[in-house]
Symmetry: C2
């Protein structure tokens, strides 16, 4: 991945932050091309406007950083010495700093404490959304990666469905799905896949169990393949052998909301507009009590990222955003249905990146 | 997994904390049996001595929590309302609180801000090690899970080796390894496997690339299967087709340090003792400049957890701890070698859970 450090200007031009601190994760990878794991050893990139970046690195990560040829002051620290001196050295290099913006949903508490210790007069500000904004609009290479990830995901789902039979457990089916995802060339999973059957499908983030699928059960798949760091995220809900009229009506209500959400995914509409129309549609149905979550989220190097498709978010849709549209209804006594597409906002009608059928499917 | 909430007394008996706040992750799972992901929606368990636990939950996770029959006050919040009111309600229920201990390496900055806002007079304390201590000594069920995870890992490694040929890429080999891990029944990966060949093996946490393995290359595998949340973590380094005398000597130096580390893993020795003897052995070899990391870490529901096998850690080894012994040497110009075993501390000689051969292996 390429170095996009020049994009930090988006942050400085939209705030009065003096420094931005990035920990390993999507922003780190996007800006530097370096894909570090977030571990117990503090690893930070400190960016100050018009100043050479300062990287605080455990010594064992220095070579992984240097092969990317980033022009930065590297301060490395050894396990035996601890990390706090590296933070003091960074403070010396950066001089007077009024405020440091951090990724509040990514930086851990202990890293914030080390920062505050080394910069005692500095205000630490949760700037998660602001920082993530650098990744808000996807370029063609990013869309291409998402398309590859989605293509692998959909092929894997097709192959997995062929394997499903009565009495297979959720865990068995999930395991086959994962093998398929790797067989089809993914570099990883977007997240631990959700495969839930029967009334388990009503747990929006439930974990697969030893439950054996039965005829007439709903079976919900929520999963994705990862390609070059980019995450697919697709949900489909099927029925084994048959679906009764109640199930069909329940499914149809979610599908209607999904289509409405896509229809509203237009440049200039707000995220609130999209969520509000989707939720209104569900809330005005006979299943209003079974609504438990918002419509979706941004998708890219993180599975959940800005912009969030939720009421109250008055941010406007822009060309290049990628969001999920994933309405769901969850009746704890019988079934949950969620239908999730990945949608690329374009100047005209949105480009629906996911293409797996949404017609009610009996397997 | 069972509910072990009574174990919080270990924390209160070893501190003057009034409340402990747990976020999704290993401690949460260990104490409650509930396996939530750490996501953008704050999810917290607040534990106060002799008081019913208070759980702050996004509404879509409430059912997943309730099926575990935990006797707790549940405060749920909806996306459309935001989470901060749930924190205020928790503060009302808990009353006067002098200090809250948090998992500093797990809790994110934005969650700490919400806590501080709802408990303005309360001191938030990074109590990561103290809280993780509840999981320090493994019971027989936990050891059994680790053994299953290790067995799957070693079988998968054996099968993957058979696949390696000149010109296979690191990524191809890694992909096969992952498929094997799932085929052999893992529920997940301990972490994204590290498969590095040639001079790439000198990057301790490098990512697999399109590099094609050549005759005479070292190839390093660092990976593990997960079973019921428990993580195997094993590293082996092989050579393709042949190893020259320098490579053999380099390998032998690491192997000697590995064996020494295991020999020192005795009840009553400190973690410092173990790391110090391993590092001395490496530092006194002709390869002292290629030492870049400590000897190991605790292993269980987290891949890296207390106790850390490092100089300066005067904590004593106790029966029931599980640690990794993983010395390595890294010559950026030619090769890295790391040999990692998972070691269960027992009253007599340690039980080495990993059994894959450490004899220099040509494949």
């Amino acid at each position: 991945m390429t170095n996009r450090l020049h994009k930090i200007d988006i942050i400085f031009n939209n705030s009065d932050l003096d420094v931005v601190a990035i920990v390993p994760g999507s922003n780190f990878k996007y800006l530097t091309g370096v894909n570090f794991h977030l571990m117990e050893r503090p690893t930070l990139l400190l960016l100050k406007k018009n100043t050479k970046p300062v990287a605080i690195l455990p010594v064992l990560e220095v070579d992984s950083f240097k092969i990317h040829n980033i022009d930065a002051d590297v301060i490395s620290w050894q396990d035996k010495d601890g990390y706090i001196d590296a933070f003091y050295k960074a403070a010396d290099i950066l001089g007077k700093v009024g405020s440091i913006g951090v990724e509040g949903q990514r930086m851990r508490y202990f890293e914030s404490l080390a920062l505050q210790k080394a910069f005692p007069e500095t205000k630490i500000v949760n700037s998660h959304s602001l920082i993530s904004k650098v990744r808000l609009l996807k370029d063609s290479k990013e869309i291409e990666n998402l398309k590859k990830a989605i293509s692998i995901s959909e092929k894997s789902l097709t192959n997995t469905i062929n394997y499903i039979k009565e009495n297979k457990t959720e865990i068995e089916i999930k395991n086959i799905l994962i093998q398929e995802i790797y067989k089809n060339g993914a570099e990883g999973l977007s997240f631990d896949p959700i495969v839930l059957a029967g009334s388990n499908s009503a747990l929006p983030h439930g974990h697969s169990s030893e439950y054996e699928i039965k005829k007439g059960d709903a079976i919900l798949f929520d999963f994705g393949a990862m390609v070059d760091g980019y995450n697919a995220d697709i949900t489909r809900t099927f029925f084994l052998d048959f679906a009764d009229d109640n199930q069909k009506d329940f499914y149809g209500t979610v599908l209607k909301a999904n289509l409405l959400g896509i229809e509203k995914s237009l440049v200039g509409n707000t995220l609130n507009d999209v969520d509000d129309s989707v939720l209104n549609s569900l809330e005005q149905s006979r299943y209003s009590e079974f609504v438990v979550h918002k419509t979706g989220h941004g998708l890219g190097l993180d599975v959940h990222e800005d912009p969030y498709v939720m009421r109250g978010n008055e941010e406007k849709l822009e060309e290049g955003m990628v969001i999920t549209i994933e309405p769901g209804l969850y009746n704890p006594k019988s079934l949950g249905v969620r239908i999730e597409d990945d949608v690329h906002i374009t100047l005209g009608v949105p480009e629906i990146l996911t293409s797996f059928t949404k017609n009610l499917t009996i397997i």
